[in-house]
Symmetry: C2
Protein backbone atom coordinates (compact mmCIF):
# COMPACT_ATOMS: atom_id res chain seq x y z
CA UNK A 1 0.00 0.00 0.00
CA UNK A 2 2.83 2.31 0.79
CA UNK A 3 4.31 1.24 -2.47
CA UNK A 4 1.00 1.56 -4.21
CA UNK A 5 0.64 5.11 -3.04
CA UNK A 6 4.14 6.03 -3.96
CA UNK A 7 3.57 4.54 -7.37
CA UNK A 8 0.62 6.70 -8.05
CA UNK A 9 2.69 9.71 -7.11
CA UNK A 10 5.65 8.66 -9.19
CA UNK A 11 3.39 7.57 -11.97
CA UNK A 12 2.32 11.13 -12.49
CA UNK A 13 5.80 11.83 -13.77
CA UNK A 14 5.71 8.68 -15.86
CA UNK A 15 8.95 7.43 -14.40
CA UNK A 16 8.23 4.99 -11.61
CA UNK A 17 9.55 1.53 -12.29
CA UNK A 18 6.53 0.06 -10.62
CA UNK A 19 4.32 2.00 -12.98
CA UNK A 20 4.67 -0.76 -15.54
CA UNK A 21 2.96 -3.28 -13.30
CA UNK A 22 -0.64 -3.65 -12.25
CA UNK A 23 -1.30 -2.93 -8.58
CA UNK A 24 -2.09 -6.52 -7.67
CA UNK A 25 1.20 -7.74 -9.12
CA UNK A 26 3.04 -5.45 -6.77
CA UNK A 27 1.53 -6.79 -3.60
CA UNK A 28 4.48 -9.00 -2.59
CA UNK A 29 6.96 -6.19 -3.17
CA UNK A 30 4.76 -3.57 -1.56
CA UNK A 31 4.54 -5.68 1.57
CA UNK A 32 8.20 -5.16 2.32
CA UNK A 33 8.59 -1.57 1.12
CA UNK A 34 9.61 0.84 3.86
CA UNK A 35 8.77 4.49 3.72
CA UNK A 36 11.74 6.66 4.72
CA UNK A 37 12.43 10.34 5.10
CA UNK A 38 15.85 11.90 4.82
CA UNK A 39 16.86 15.31 6.07
CA UNK A 40 18.93 17.64 3.95
CA UNK A 41 22.50 16.32 3.98
CA UNK A 42 21.60 12.83 5.16
CA UNK A 43 23.34 9.95 3.39
CA UNK A 44 21.39 7.05 1.91
CA UNK A 45 24.37 5.14 0.50
CA UNK A 46 28.03 5.40 1.48
CA UNK A 47 30.66 4.54 -1.12
CA UNK A 48 32.01 1.13 -0.17
CA UNK A 49 28.78 -0.05 1.46
CA UNK A 50 28.34 -3.75 0.93
CA UNK A 51 24.63 -3.88 1.73
CA UNK A 52 22.87 -2.90 -1.47
CA UNK A 53 19.95 -0.51 -1.22
CA UNK A 54 17.06 -0.22 -3.66
CA UNK A 55 14.59 2.64 -3.48
CA UNK A 56 12.22 4.84 -5.41
CA UNK A 57 12.54 8.57 -4.80
CA UNK A 58 9.19 10.23 -4.21
CA UNK A 59 10.00 13.80 -3.22
CA UNK A 60 13.18 15.83 -3.03
CA UNK A 61 16.53 15.81 -4.77
CA UNK A 62 19.62 13.65 -4.19
CA UNK A 63 23.18 13.76 -5.45
CA UNK A 64 25.44 10.91 -6.57
CA UNK A 65 28.90 12.02 -5.60
CA UNK A 66 32.50 11.01 -5.17
CA UNK A 67 35.16 12.50 -2.95
CA UNK A 68 38.65 12.29 -4.35
CA UNK A 69 41.85 11.80 -2.34
CA UNK A 70 42.41 15.56 -2.34
CA UNK A 71 39.11 15.99 -0.52
CA UNK A 72 37.33 17.58 -3.46
CA UNK A 73 33.81 16.45 -4.09
CA UNK A 74 32.51 15.73 -7.57
CA UNK A 75 28.79 15.32 -8.19
CA UNK A 76 28.42 12.77 -10.98
CA UNK A 77 24.66 12.82 -11.15
CA UNK A 78 21.40 14.02 -9.65
CA UNK A 79 18.37 11.93 -8.72
CA UNK A 80 14.89 13.44 -9.07
CA UNK A 81 11.48 12.27 -7.91
CA UNK A 82 10.54 9.10 -9.76
CA UNK A 83 14.16 8.02 -10.15
CA UNK A 84 15.26 4.62 -8.97
CA UNK A 85 18.29 4.06 -6.73
CA UNK A 86 20.21 0.80 -6.70
CA UNK A 87 21.91 -1.75 -8.88
CA UNK A 88 20.03 -5.05 -8.89
CA UNK A 89 21.89 -7.86 -10.68
CA UNK A 90 25.01 -5.72 -10.83
CA UNK A 91 27.85 -8.07 -11.58
CA UNK A 92 26.05 -11.05 -10.13
CA UNK A 93 27.59 -10.51 -6.70
CA UNK A 94 26.71 -7.64 -4.40
CA UNK A 95 29.42 -5.18 -5.38
CA UNK A 96 30.31 -2.41 -2.94
CA UNK A 97 28.75 0.90 -3.89
CA UNK A 98 31.03 3.13 -5.94
CA UNK A 99 29.47 6.46 -4.98
CA UNK A 100 27.81 8.29 -2.12
CA UNK A 101 24.11 9.11 -2.45
CA UNK A 102 23.10 12.09 -0.32
CA UNK A 103 19.94 14.16 0.08
CA UNK A 104 20.26 17.74 -1.17
CA UNK A 105 16.80 18.61 0.09
CA UNK A 106 14.40 16.84 2.43
CA UNK A 107 13.67 13.57 0.66
CA UNK A 108 11.00 10.94 0.97
CA UNK A 109 11.48 7.57 -0.63
CA UNK A 110 10.31 3.99 -0.54
CA UNK A 111 13.04 1.46 0.18
CA UNK A 112 13.18 -2.28 -0.59
CA UNK A 113 15.53 -5.17 0.11
CA UNK A 114 17.57 -5.72 -3.02
CA UNK A 115 16.95 -9.46 -2.98
CA UNK A 116 13.20 -8.88 -3.02
CA UNK A 117 13.48 -6.42 -5.91
CA UNK A 118 15.49 -8.96 -7.85
CA UNK A 119 12.91 -11.67 -7.21
CA UNK A 120 10.14 -9.35 -8.33
CA UNK A 121 12.02 -8.53 -11.50
CA UNK A 122 12.55 -12.19 -12.30
CA UNK A 123 8.82 -12.70 -11.93
CA UNK A 124 7.90 -9.56 -13.88
CA UNK A 125 10.15 -9.02 -16.90
CA UNK A 126 8.36 -5.77 -17.75
CA UNK A 127 9.80 -4.22 -14.61
CA UNK A 128 13.29 -5.40 -15.40
CA UNK A 129 12.92 -4.11 -18.93
CA UNK A 130 11.88 -0.72 -17.62
CA UNK A 131 15.00 -0.59 -15.47
CA UNK A 132 17.18 -1.57 -18.43
CA UNK A 133 15.56 1.05 -20.60
CA UNK A 134 16.06 3.71 -17.99
CA UNK A 135 19.65 2.69 -17.31
CA UNK A 136 20.49 2.90 -21.01
CA UNK A 137 18.93 6.36 -21.16
CA UNK A 138 20.91 7.43 -18.12
CA UNK A 139 24.10 6.10 -19.70
CA UNK A 140 23.50 8.28 -22.74
CA UNK A 141 22.82 11.29 -20.54
CA UNK A 142 26.00 10.78 -18.52
CA UNK A 143 28.00 10.51 -21.74
CA UNK A 144 26.54 13.79 -22.91
CA UNK A 145 27.51 15.42 -19.61
CA UNK A 146 30.94 13.88 -20.03
CA UNK A 147 31.42 15.58 -23.37
CA UNK A 148 30.36 18.90 -21.89
CA UNK A 149 32.79 18.57 -19.00
CA UNK A 150 35.56 17.67 -21.39
CA UNK A 151 35.45 20.80 -23.51
CA UNK A 152 32.83 23.35 -22.58
CA UNK A 153 33.76 26.72 -21.11
CA UNK A 154 32.64 27.76 -17.64
CA UNK A 155 29.94 29.97 -19.15
CA UNK A 156 28.55 27.12 -21.24
CA UNK A 157 28.46 24.79 -18.25
CA UNK A 158 26.55 27.22 -16.10
CA UNK A 159 24.16 28.22 -18.90
CA UNK A 160 23.60 24.54 -19.70
CA UNK A 161 22.79 23.75 -16.11
CA UNK A 162 20.22 26.55 -15.90
CA UNK A 163 18.65 25.43 -19.18
CA UNK A 164 18.38 21.83 -18.03
CA UNK A 165 16.99 22.81 -14.66
CA UNK A 166 14.34 24.96 -16.33
CA UNK A 167 13.49 21.98 -18.51
CA UNK A 168 13.32 19.67 -15.51
CA UNK A 169 11.07 22.11 -13.71
CA UNK A 170 8.57 21.57 -16.48
CA UNK A 171 8.29 25.19 -17.48
CA UNK A 172 6.52 26.42 -20.60
CA UNK A 173 8.91 27.92 -23.09
CA UNK A 174 6.16 30.21 -24.32
CA UNK A 175 6.18 32.35 -21.20
CA UNK A 176 7.44 35.89 -21.37
CA UNK A 177 9.59 35.71 -18.26
CA UNK A 178 10.22 32.34 -16.66
CA UNK A 179 11.24 32.13 -13.03
CA UNK A 180 12.83 28.96 -11.70
CA UNK A 181 14.33 28.00 -8.37
CA UNK A 182 17.74 26.38 -8.60
CA UNK A 183 17.83 23.25 -6.42
CA UNK A 184 21.56 23.63 -5.70
CA UNK A 185 23.78 26.08 -3.88
CA UNK A 186 26.67 27.72 -5.72
CA UNK A 187 29.01 25.24 -4.11
CA UNK A 188 26.95 22.28 -5.23
CA UNK A 189 26.73 23.69 -8.74
CA UNK A 190 30.52 24.00 -8.71
CA UNK A 191 30.89 20.35 -7.66
CA UNK A 192 28.47 19.29 -10.39
CA UNK A 193 30.02 21.37 -13.16
CA UNK A 194 33.67 20.84 -12.25
CA UNK A 195 34.26 24.51 -11.41
CA UNK A 196 34.87 26.59 -8.29
CA UNK A 197 32.25 28.54 -6.38
CA UNK A 198 33.78 31.81 -7.49
CA UNK A 199 33.73 30.89 -11.16
CA UNK A 200 30.09 29.80 -11.00
CA UNK A 201 29.21 33.08 -9.35
CA UNK A 202 31.11 35.09 -11.95
CA UNK A 203 29.34 33.38 -14.84
CA UNK A 204 25.95 33.98 -13.23
CA UNK A 205 26.81 37.65 -12.89
CA UNK A 206 27.99 37.72 -16.49
CA UNK A 207 24.68 36.30 -17.73
CA UNK A 208 22.83 38.82 -15.56
CA UNK A 209 24.84 41.77 -16.88
CA UNK A 210 24.21 40.59 -20.43
CA UNK A 211 20.48 40.74 -19.73
CA UNK A 212 20.03 37.02 -20.35
CA UNK A 213 18.87 36.21 -16.83
CA UNK A 214 17.84 38.04 -13.69
CA UNK A 215 18.81 37.18 -10.12
CA UNK A 216 16.01 38.40 -7.88
CA UNK A 217 17.58 36.83 -4.79
CA UNK A 218 17.85 33.50 -3.06
CA UNK A 219 18.28 30.70 -5.58
CA UNK A 220 15.75 32.14 -7.98
CA UNK A 221 16.60 32.81 -11.60
CA UNK A 222 14.51 34.77 -14.10
CA UNK A 223 15.11 33.64 -17.65
CA UNK A 224 14.74 36.73 -19.83
CA UNK A 225 16.24 35.40 -23.04
CA UNK A 226 15.99 31.60 -23.38
CA UNK A 227 17.53 31.66 -26.86
CA UNK A 228 20.61 33.52 -25.75
CA UNK A 229 20.89 31.17 -22.78
CA UNK A 230 20.72 28.10 -25.01
CA UNK A 231 23.26 29.67 -27.33
CA UNK A 232 25.65 30.29 -24.44
CA UNK A 233 25.16 26.69 -23.35
CA UNK A 234 26.04 25.28 -26.75
CA UNK A 235 29.17 27.28 -27.19
CA UNK A 236 31.54 24.34 -27.22
CA UNK A 237 29.36 21.44 -26.20
Amino acid sequence: MVFGNSCKQCGVRGQALCGVLADEELAPLAACGVQRSLARGETLVHAGDKAPICANIQRGLMKISHINPAGQEVIVGLLWPGDFVGTPFAGGQPLPATHDIVALTPVSLCQFPQARVERTMVAHPAMERALLSRTLAELGAVRTRLSRLARATALARVAGFITETAHRSGVDDGETVTIIELPLSRGEMADLLGLTIETVSRQMTRLKNAGVIGLPGGRRVEIHDPDALAEAAEELV
Copy 2:
Protein backbone atom coordinates in the same frame (compact mmCIF):
# COMPACT_ATOMS: atom_id res chain seq x y z
CA MET B 1 27.20 -20.78 -36.34
CA VAL B 2 28.78 -17.48 -37.04
CA PHE B 3 27.40 -16.39 -33.73
CA GLY B 4 28.48 -19.60 -32.11
CA ASN B 5 32.02 -19.08 -33.24
CA SER B 6 32.08 -15.49 -32.19
CA CYS B 7 30.74 -16.48 -28.84
CA LYS B 8 33.54 -18.87 -28.19
CA GLN B 9 35.98 -16.13 -29.04
CA CYS B 10 34.25 -13.57 -26.91
CA GLY B 11 33.71 -16.07 -24.19
CA VAL B 12 37.44 -16.25 -23.67
CA ARG B 13 37.26 -12.78 -22.26
CA GLY B 14 34.20 -13.70 -20.26
CA GLN B 15 32.26 -10.79 -21.61
CA ALA B 16 30.04 -11.94 -24.45
CA LEU B 17 26.37 -11.50 -23.75
CA CYS B 18 25.66 -14.75 -25.48
CA GLY B 19 28.04 -16.51 -23.15
CA VAL B 20 25.26 -16.85 -20.62
CA LEU B 21 23.23 -19.06 -22.93
CA ALA B 22 23.73 -22.64 -24.07
CA ASP B 23 24.61 -23.01 -27.73
CA GLU B 24 21.31 -24.60 -28.72
CA GLU B 25 19.36 -21.71 -27.22
CA LEU B 26 21.17 -19.35 -29.50
CA ALA B 27 20.25 -21.05 -32.75
CA PRO B 28 17.44 -18.66 -33.73
CA LEU B 29 19.58 -15.61 -33.05
CA ALA B 30 22.66 -17.10 -34.64
CA ALA B 31 20.69 -17.73 -37.83
CA CYS B 32 20.34 -14.03 -38.49
CA GLY B 33 23.73 -12.84 -37.27
CA VAL B 34 25.84 -11.20 -39.95
CA GLN B 35 29.61 -11.16 -39.76
CA ARG B 36 31.05 -7.75 -40.64
CA SER B 37 34.47 -6.24 -40.93
CA LEU B 38 35.19 -2.56 -40.54
CA ALA B 39 38.30 -0.76 -41.72
CA ARG B 40 40.04 1.73 -39.46
CA GLY B 41 37.95 4.90 -39.47
CA GLU B 42 34.78 3.26 -40.74
CA THR B 43 31.56 4.24 -38.98
CA LEU B 44 29.15 1.63 -37.61
CA VAL B 45 26.59 4.05 -36.17
CA HIS B 46 26.03 7.70 -37.06
CA ALA B 47 24.56 9.99 -34.42
CA GLY B 48 20.93 10.54 -35.40
CA ASP B 49 20.56 7.16 -37.11
CA LYS B 50 17.03 5.88 -36.69
CA ALA B 51 17.80 2.27 -37.56
CA PRO B 52 19.09 0.69 -34.38
CA ILE B 53 22.11 -1.59 -34.63
CA CYS B 54 23.02 -4.40 -32.27
CA ALA B 55 26.37 -6.13 -32.47
CA ASN B 56 29.04 -7.99 -30.54
CA ILE B 57 32.60 -6.81 -31.07
CA GLN B 58 35.00 -9.67 -31.69
CA ARG B 59 38.29 -8.03 -32.57
CA GLY B 60 39.55 -4.47 -32.65
CA LEU B 61 38.71 -1.24 -30.85
CA MET B 62 35.92 1.26 -31.42
CA LYS B 63 35.17 4.72 -30.08
CA ILE B 64 31.86 6.25 -28.98
CA SER B 65 32.17 9.89 -29.85
CA HIS B 66 30.38 13.16 -30.25
CA ILE B 67 31.28 16.13 -32.40
CA ASN B 68 30.22 19.46 -30.96
CA PRO B 69 29.05 22.50 -32.93
CA ALA B 70 32.58 23.92 -32.84
CA GLY B 71 33.81 20.83 -34.68
CA GLN B 72 35.70 19.40 -31.72
CA GLU B 73 35.40 15.70 -31.18
CA VAL B 74 34.93 14.19 -27.74
CA ILE B 75 35.37 10.46 -27.20
CA VAL B 76 32.92 9.46 -24.47
CA GLY B 77 33.84 5.80 -24.37
CA LEU B 78 35.79 2.94 -25.91
CA LEU B 79 34.47 -0.45 -26.97
CA TRP B 80 36.74 -3.49 -26.65
CA PRO B 81 36.42 -7.07 -27.90
CA GLY B 82 33.51 -8.75 -26.14
CA ASP B 83 31.63 -5.50 -25.68
CA PHE B 84 28.06 -5.17 -26.89
CA VAL B 85 26.84 -2.30 -29.08
CA GLY B 86 23.24 -1.21 -29.13
CA THR B 87 20.31 -0.16 -26.98
CA PRO B 88 17.55 -2.77 -27.07
CA PHE B 89 14.35 -1.66 -25.34
CA ALA B 90 15.72 1.86 -25.08
CA GLY B 91 12.79 4.08 -24.31
CA GLY B 92 10.31 1.70 -25.85
CA GLN B 93 10.52 3.39 -29.23
CA PRO B 94 13.56 3.25 -31.49
CA LEU B 95 15.31 6.42 -30.39
CA PRO B 96 17.83 8.00 -32.75
CA ALA B 97 21.42 7.22 -31.78
CA THR B 98 23.02 9.90 -29.65
CA HIS B 99 26.64 9.18 -30.54
CA ASP B 100 28.85 8.05 -33.41
CA ILE B 101 30.49 4.65 -33.14
CA VAL B 102 33.64 4.40 -35.23
CA ALA B 103 36.39 1.80 -35.68
CA LEU B 104 39.78 2.92 -34.33
CA THR B 105 41.45 -0.22 -35.64
CA PRO B 106 40.32 -2.91 -38.08
CA VAL B 107 37.28 -4.40 -36.39
CA SER B 108 35.32 -7.59 -36.81
CA LEU B 109 31.91 -7.94 -35.27
CA CYS B 110 28.71 -9.89 -35.45
CA GLN B 111 25.62 -7.82 -36.17
CA PHE B 112 21.96 -8.58 -35.46
CA PRO B 113 18.61 -6.95 -36.17
CA GLN B 114 17.56 -5.18 -32.98
CA ALA B 115 14.06 -6.66 -33.13
CA ARG B 116 15.53 -10.14 -33.13
CA VAL B 117 17.80 -9.38 -30.20
CA GLU B 118 14.83 -8.07 -28.27
CA ARG B 119 12.82 -11.19 -29.02
CA THR B 120 15.70 -13.39 -27.89
CA MET B 121 16.01 -11.42 -24.67
CA VAL B 122 12.31 -11.77 -23.94
CA ALA B 123 12.69 -15.52 -24.38
CA HIS B 124 15.94 -15.72 -22.38
CA PRO B 125 15.92 -13.48 -19.32
CA ALA B 126 19.48 -14.49 -18.45
CA MET B 127 20.70 -12.64 -21.53
CA GLU B 128 18.72 -9.54 -20.70
CA ARG B 129 20.00 -9.70 -17.14
CA ALA B 130 23.56 -9.89 -18.41
CA LEU B 131 22.99 -6.77 -20.49
CA LEU B 132 21.49 -4.95 -17.53
CA SER B 133 24.37 -5.97 -15.33
CA ARG B 134 26.89 -4.80 -17.87
CA THR B 135 25.07 -1.54 -18.50
CA LEU B 136 25.04 -0.77 -14.78
CA ALA B 137 28.76 -1.48 -14.61
CA GLU B 138 29.39 0.76 -17.59
CA LEU B 139 27.32 3.51 -15.98
CA GLY B 140 29.55 3.36 -12.91
CA ALA B 141 32.66 3.45 -15.06
CA VAL B 142 31.46 6.47 -17.03
CA ARG B 143 30.68 8.28 -13.79
CA THR B 144 34.20 7.60 -12.58
CA ARG B 145 35.61 9.00 -15.81
CA LEU B 146 33.29 11.96 -15.36
CA SER B 147 34.78 12.75 -11.98
CA ARG B 148 38.28 12.53 -13.41
CA LEU B 149 37.44 14.89 -16.27
CA ALA B 150 35.87 17.32 -13.85
CA ARG B 151 38.92 17.88 -11.67
CA ALA B 152 42.04 15.95 -12.60
CA THR B 153 45.13 17.65 -13.98
CA ALA B 154 46.46 16.85 -17.44
CA LEU B 155 49.20 14.69 -15.92
CA ALA B 156 46.70 12.65 -13.91
CA ARG B 157 44.49 12.10 -16.95
CA VAL B 158 47.35 10.83 -19.07
CA ALA B 159 48.80 8.67 -16.31
CA GLY B 160 45.35 7.27 -15.60
CA PHE B 161 44.82 6.38 -19.22
CA ILE B 162 48.14 4.53 -19.40
CA THR B 163 47.34 2.67 -16.18
CA GLU B 164 43.92 1.62 -17.41
CA THR B 165 45.26 0.55 -20.77
CA ALA B 166 47.91 -1.57 -19.09
CA HIS B 167 45.17 -3.12 -17.00
CA ARG B 168 43.01 -3.76 -20.06
CA SER B 169 45.93 -5.36 -21.82
CA GLY B 170 45.94 -7.95 -19.08
CA VAL B 171 49.52 -7.39 -18.04
CA ASP B 172 51.05 -8.90 -14.93
CA ASP B 173 51.93 -6.29 -12.38
CA GLY B 174 54.75 -8.47 -11.14
CA GLU B 175 56.89 -7.90 -14.20
CA THR B 176 60.03 -5.86 -13.89
CA VAL B 177 59.42 -3.78 -17.00
CA THR B 178 56.02 -3.93 -18.67
CA ILE B 179 55.65 -2.91 -22.29
CA ILE B 180 52.23 -2.06 -23.66
CA GLU B 181 51.01 -0.74 -26.99
CA LEU B 182 48.64 2.20 -26.74
CA PRO B 183 45.62 1.63 -28.98
CA LEU B 184 45.14 5.36 -29.62
CA SER B 185 47.04 8.12 -31.38
CA ARG B 186 47.95 11.26 -29.45
CA GLY B 187 45.02 13.03 -31.07
CA GLU B 188 42.61 10.31 -30.04
CA MET B 189 43.98 10.36 -26.51
CA ALA B 190 43.41 14.10 -26.46
CA ASP B 191 39.79 13.67 -27.58
CA LEU B 192 39.27 11.01 -24.92
CA LEU B 193 40.87 12.94 -22.09
CA GLY B 194 39.56 16.39 -22.95
CA LEU B 195 43.01 17.81 -23.69
CA THR B 196 44.97 18.96 -26.73
CA ILE B 197 47.49 16.89 -28.66
CA GLU B 198 50.32 19.09 -27.46
CA THR B 199 49.37 18.75 -23.82
CA VAL B 200 49.14 14.97 -24.05
CA SER B 201 52.56 14.89 -25.66
CA ARG B 202 54.05 17.13 -22.99
CA GLN B 203 52.74 14.96 -20.16
CA MET B 204 54.11 11.83 -21.82
CA THR B 205 57.49 13.50 -22.05
CA ARG B 206 57.23 14.60 -18.44
CA LEU B 207 56.57 11.03 -17.29
CA LYS B 208 59.45 9.84 -19.43
CA ASN B 209 61.86 12.44 -18.01
CA ALA B 210 60.78 11.48 -14.50
CA GLY B 211 61.80 7.90 -15.26
CA VAL B 212 58.27 6.61 -14.73
CA ILE B 213 57.80 5.37 -18.28
CA GLY B 214 59.88 4.82 -21.39
CA LEU B 215 58.89 5.69 -24.94
CA PRO B 216 60.76 3.29 -27.21
CA GLY B 217 58.93 4.52 -30.30
CA GLY B 218 55.67 4.07 -32.08
CA ARG B 219 52.80 3.80 -29.63
CA ARG B 220 54.74 1.58 -27.26
CA VAL B 221 55.11 2.50 -23.60
CA GLU B 222 57.46 0.85 -21.11
CA ILE B 223 56.16 1.09 -17.58
CA HIS B 224 59.21 1.40 -15.34
CA ASP B 225 57.52 2.50 -12.14
CA PRO B 226 53.88 1.39 -11.88
CA ASP B 227 53.52 2.83 -8.38
CA ALA B 228 54.66 6.29 -9.40
CA LEU B 229 52.37 6.06 -12.41
CA ALA B 230 49.37 5.16 -10.25
CA GLU B 231 50.29 7.95 -7.86
CA ALA B 232 50.39 10.47 -10.69
CA ALA B 233 47.01 9.20 -11.87
CA GLU B 234 45.39 9.65 -8.49
CA GLU B 235 46.58 13.14 -7.96
CA LEU B 236 43.16 14.75 -7.98
CA VAL B 237 40.95 11.95 -9.18
